[in-house]
Each structure stands twice: as structure tokens, then as C-alpha cells.
Symmetry: C2
Subunit: 136 residues, 2 copies
DNA sequence: CATTCTGTAATTGACTTTATTACAGTACAA
DNA sequence: TTGTACTGTAATAAAGTCAATTACAGAATG
């Protein structure tokens, strides 16, 4: 959830939930998000690999939800887009000769996991259907 | 917590907590984190502006905690380094002609706030002293 | 078989982050 | 009172990341 991919993926899924049963083209979706269609297709590819949507090539192709919107949780979306950890996952290479430097990454990672757990707990409680339901 | 500044600031503070009472130079700190001393001084400047540390110019200068380590909470560190929201704060400009696009940023922002609340709750419960105590 | 799509690679451009250089100012200590 | 060891900060450059764009092969449809 570091990145701009979470909102894009959630936007894609929300559109599909709101047009459930229809096959939406990457151009249509890109027009709603206001980004490039190729980016949409990349995210669709990723969401498909995570089993959240299906897609169909060729004329009248597009993508649609792979399961009902109340079976997709926001934590699934998080897992689909997440590469690195939330906070930046210890990319520094601290000095191992220093008592603090030697251990800090390990303790940072533990802290990150703890926080990520709290975050996932929140996201787990909301389905795509719940999210869509908020729209007036 | 989007960025690499949180681990840097926490590393700085952890060093100071572990050498409580001493004035640490930016060169020493930079050597432990393994980054450029100027970056350390920038973070020190920021932490000082947030009342977490004090610094002293001139020979034998450096920086030290402004209060005991058990009075500094990790949520203070988070607030000190945080600029944007956790997840990327709705920078897309979706199509207002689209029913989903028109409202999604508002719902994303609400979701982000909810998650950030959970995160802050976790960080609020851990002090710098607690964090340091984990080091063997 | 022309058309409308997806899938994907490759490249570019914009932006962000970090490193580096440079130097003025401050405090201490001999 | 002068050299030394620091901070503070600006300016620039280098590196890295992210999104847009171009390009095109392949699939499904009518």
C-alpha cells in the first residue's frame, strides 16, 4: 500500500462491481480513472493472477469480477498490489559494527509486521461490496 | 511512513536513547546508519523542530534527546516524518462524469483515515524506551 | 478478413530521493 | 586569538522510481 497501485486496483474493482456481469474494456476503465490504458491492463493482469478478476481477449473482450463482490475483501486487494512492506522495508544497510546498527533492521521489520497486522485486520473487515455500498 | 525517513529518524533516536546524556555527532550517527551526514543533519533539524531532540553547534556539539526515552512515543516519530498520508492520498484525478470516478477519492480518503487511525494506535502504545529495550 | 479488443515489451519523461560539495557560523580549548 | 571540530543549510548532481507512451503480436467476433 506504499504506492498508487492500491487506489487504481480498487477503482478497477469498484467499477466492475458496479457493472457486475459486464465485460469492461481497459479503455473505458482508463477513462474513469484518468490514466493510461496500458497501466490498467497491467493492473488487470495482476488482479487476474491473484484470482480476483477474469479477462477475455478479442473483440467484445474486457474484464469482469471472478467472484461476487461480497467475496472480495479489501485485504485481498492489498495483498495483490503489495510488493514491499508498508513502510519501506529496511533498505538501509546499517553498520554491523554498531550495536544499534547491527540489530535495528530486525526490530524495524518486527514493528512493520505488527503494524501491517493491524492494517490487514481493518482491510479484512471490509468487502468490495461494502465499499461500493457507500457510493450514493 | 511512506518513505525511508521513518527508519532513519527512529535509528537516530534509538542511538541517542542508547547513549542517553551524550551528544552524538552527525558523522557518528551517519556511520551507524550508513548514509550521508547531511541527511542526518536534516533529519535532526526536523526532529528538533518537533521537540524530540536538542542539538548544539560548535566543537563537542551534536544532538541528544530532548526528553526521556519513555516519554517519546513512536507515534511522535511518525508525526515528525509524515508529510503525505500513508497510502498515497488520492492523487489520481478521476473522471467526474463517471459515477464511480466522481466519488471514489472521497471514499478512499475515508478508508485511509480509518487505517491510519489503527496504525497510530499501535505506534502510540510503543515508546522509544520500549523499542530500545528489545535490543539484546 | 476487417475490426476491436487484450497482453506485453521497450522507451521516454517526469518526478522524487539521496549523495555530494561547499561554505558560513558557532563553540571549545590550547 | 587561533586552530579545530562541529552544526546548519543551500545548491547541485546522481540515482532511482513511477507513469505515459509507442508499438505490435495475438485473440475473438461479426
Amino acid at each position: 500500500m506504499n504506492n498508487g497501485r492500491f487506489p487504481i486496483s480498487l477503482h478497477i474493482l469498484t467499477l466492475m462491481a458496479s457493472y457486475e456481469g459486464e465485460w469492461l474494456s481497459s479503455d473505458l476503465i482508463a477513462g474513469s480513472i484518468n490514466i493510461n490504458p496500458v497501466l490498467v491492463r497491467k493492473e488487470i493482469s495482476n488482479l487476474r493472477n491473484h484470482g480476483l478478476i477474469e479477462s477475455k481477449e478479442g473483440k467484445n473482450g474486457g474484464a469482469t469480477l471472478a467472484k461476487p463482490a461480497d467475496k472480495i475483501r479489501l485485504s485481498d486487494v492489498y495483498h495483490a498490489v503489495q510488493q514491499a512492506s508498508l513502510l519501506g522495508n529496511s533498505k538501509n544497510r546499517p553498520n554491523p559494527a554498531c550495536a544499534v546498527g547491527k540489530q535495528i533492521n530486525q526490530h524495524l521489520d518486527k514493528l512493520y509486521q505488527d503494524i501491517e497486522g493491524a492494517l490487514l485486520h481493518k482491510l479484512d473487515k471490509m468487502s468490495l461490496a461494502d465499499f461500493l455500498r457507500q457510493f450514493g
